[in-house]
């Protein structure tokens, strides 16, 4: 894999490659060299403890000004972008709710059709026949008197409402 070190090494050790190749050719038992084997680093100890940063109030002010400006800019940016982001988020929610509403409306219509099918007189009559029920004969129908007080609570309530 080409790393930065190996790429740099190509430029730095471009001249050394043929030489190492020649040595390897002459001595077949020599091991393959490691990368950057022929680069040696020397650590030189430098004592900077005596160095003291000179106080520079102007630079400090500039630094704080820069930080403040960046923060202000960030705040302005966030403030200006936030409504738009909130709008988009709300848009997602509104769309989802609209779809949900439409789905529920459709479902309700389907259920209304199912309800109407279940309440079809033909079906009800068949159910009644299965239960051995019959339509009341005329003499079995009792019409409640509006003025009657006992036993006609529901009728009286209805008549009051009508009034």
């Amino acid at each position: 894999m080409a790393t930065l070190a190996t790429i740099l090494r190509k430029f730095d050790t471009a001249g050394a490659e043929p030489r190492r190749a020649a040595v390897a050719q002459s001595n077949p038992y020599l091991l393959r060299p490691l990368p950057n084997e022929d680069i040696f680093f020397h650590k030189k100890k430098v004592d900077n403890s005596r160095l003291v940063r000179e106080a520079d109030p102007r630079a400090k002010t500039e630094c704080w000004s820069t930080i403040g400006a960046v923060c202000a800019l960030a705040a302005v940016l966030i403030t200006s972008v936030a409504p738009s982001v909130a709008g988009i988020t709300a848009g997602y929610q509104i769309q989802a709710l609209k779809q949900e509403r439409q789905r529920l409306l459709d479902e309700r219509r389907g259920l209304e059709v199912d309800e109407a099918k279940l309440l079809a007189p033909e079906r009800l009559e068949q159910l009644a026949k299965d239960q051995k029920m019959a339509s009341p004969k005329t003499d079995q129908v009792v019409h409640l008197m509006i003025n009657a007080s006992e036993g006609t609570v529901a009728f009286n309530v209805n008549s009051k409402k009508e009034k």
Binding site: G91, E112, A116, P121, H143
Partner: protein
Amino acid sequence: MESPARTQAVTRTTFLAGGAALWATAIFGKLFYLQVVRHKHYAELARDQQVKTVEVPGPRGSIFDRNGQALAMSVPVDSVFVNPSRLASLDVAADIIAPVLKLDRDQLFNRLTSARKDPKRRGFCWIKRKITPEEAANLRSLRLPWIEFHNESQRHYPKTFIAAHVIGSVNHEEKGNSGIELGLDAELRGEAGAAQVLTDVAKRGIESRLSDEPKVGTNLVLTIDERIQFAAERDLKEAVDRTRARTGTVVVMNPHSGEILAMASYPTFDPNTPPRKGEPPSARLNLAVAAPFEPGSVFKVVTLATALETTSLRPDSILPCGTMKMFNRVIHEAKHQYGPLSMADVLAKSSNVGAIQIGMRVGKEKLYEYLRKFGFGQKTGTGLPAESGGMLRRLDRWQPGSICSIPMGHEISTTALQLGQACSVIANGGLMIKPRLVLKRQRPGYRMEEEKAERPVRIVKPETAFTMRSMMEGVVLHGTGTRARLDGYSSAGKTGSAQIYDYAARRYTSSYNASFMGFAPVTNPAIVVVVTLNGTHGAAGFGGPAAAPVFRTVAMEALRVLDVPKDIPDQESATDDPKVDENDLAIADLSDPPPLEELADPPMIGPAPLPKIETATGPRVPNFKGMTMRAVVEEAGSMGLPVSLDGRGVARMQVPAPGSVLPPGERIRVQFAR
């Protein structure tokens, strides 16, 4: 002098800066090209990707009965289509889709293949239209992008056969093709709109806006009561099967408001299914408004009402009803020979000779005038398509024999609804009320609004209507319509039997139009019921035995449903009394020279004895004493009580006495004096 190394560095820097400037220029140039020069093009491309146009459903209006029961509703459904040219393998596509949608795999494959090859199809192929929600869910769960869905609407008629002829049906594009669905199609029809939806990469909606407003159809509430409608259809079917008639109709109306409570036709159909091959055309025809017929003897009601209005004839006026000579031929009853009959008995026994004599007393000008007033020869205007106005010849085209035929209900054709309209005039005290089917309307965005009824027009005097009520009650009590007697309710009506004319053979046949029109209760009618059975045969096919029982069962059910209080004591109704004379056949061929056809119909047996009526309940008679004639008529009219007026001045005496119960079939006799 500068060192060569510095010069070289400056040169390099200059080249580098130049290269960077060129690079920046190229980039900005390209940006300018894309953003400014080609802005429109790329904006459109972006919009195509980000903005999706979706259909906003505009459902067709629903139809309800008067109690809010849904009779017709549209429910959104999905239809499936594919672009065959986008499919890598039609084989695989057919294998995947066919089992989910329960389609034949080979047929689907053939359809996809032909759609791909056909350039006119433009890469479009319906897989299946109006699939069930379960099928749609199963198909969506496959998550295949090449399967596309289109929103459509499916019309449902949840009560199947109930009021099928009134409601009608729609075609596959949800356009009405019969009934109210066709008659009020423009109001009911909805139109889908469109919305532009801004979507993200995942095609989720961010924002939407209506680009085309959808039009939602108007919801309608009909005057039909599904319980009465069901009873009418059930009893009609039973009667058609019993009498072996070809077709039949029942109309139930409120005589005061003109609201049609039930309108049944037989044969019927299921509006949820499209017409089948070989299905008789009459099955989808609303016979009650679209099939006029010669009404026969029920028409005598109109003749007699006209006579009461225009002549001095009264119910007790005696008419010679044996035989009569007209147009060089002897006319007699179809089967019987009556002696002198009162006008009331002419109606009760359905005497043809009596009706002819009454018609001649009225005269053709007056008769024609009143026929028009009663609405014959004109459409009722219910909004139903294919409505017939019936046939009533212009006066100048009447034949010499027309004045004899029309009073008996021949040479004129009417629909069952027209008969109901005419009968309502008698039942409501003389007012012509237009029948109506729409009770309420709910336009999109508005609340439900009551439909205003047309203002009624008085066409006969109240006393004429009350007298006719009384005479029609006589038909049920001791005439040809005893089978129309109700338990606990007084009823009135008229039977009719008319021979059917065979246009191919140019002669009257021996099959009949049996009919009955009547109302109940007599004192304050709540319903008018008209029953017609087309194509009955023999004695059992006359109006009395065939149609009157249907009136009885339908009226009983309707009165119970409408919660109408009983007005007479419960009694055993006359059903199969052999002594009752039910021959009410009108003479059909008076206008044609050939002699009367002998009819092999029921043996003539004497008139039935008057039934005993108990008078325990009924309306209370008000006190008319001291009132003027106008005031008496108005008060009696408002209470629905028949009165008989005699003398001039103010009311001095009345029978029955004030506060007593008025027996059914009786009228209050008021004597006036100055």
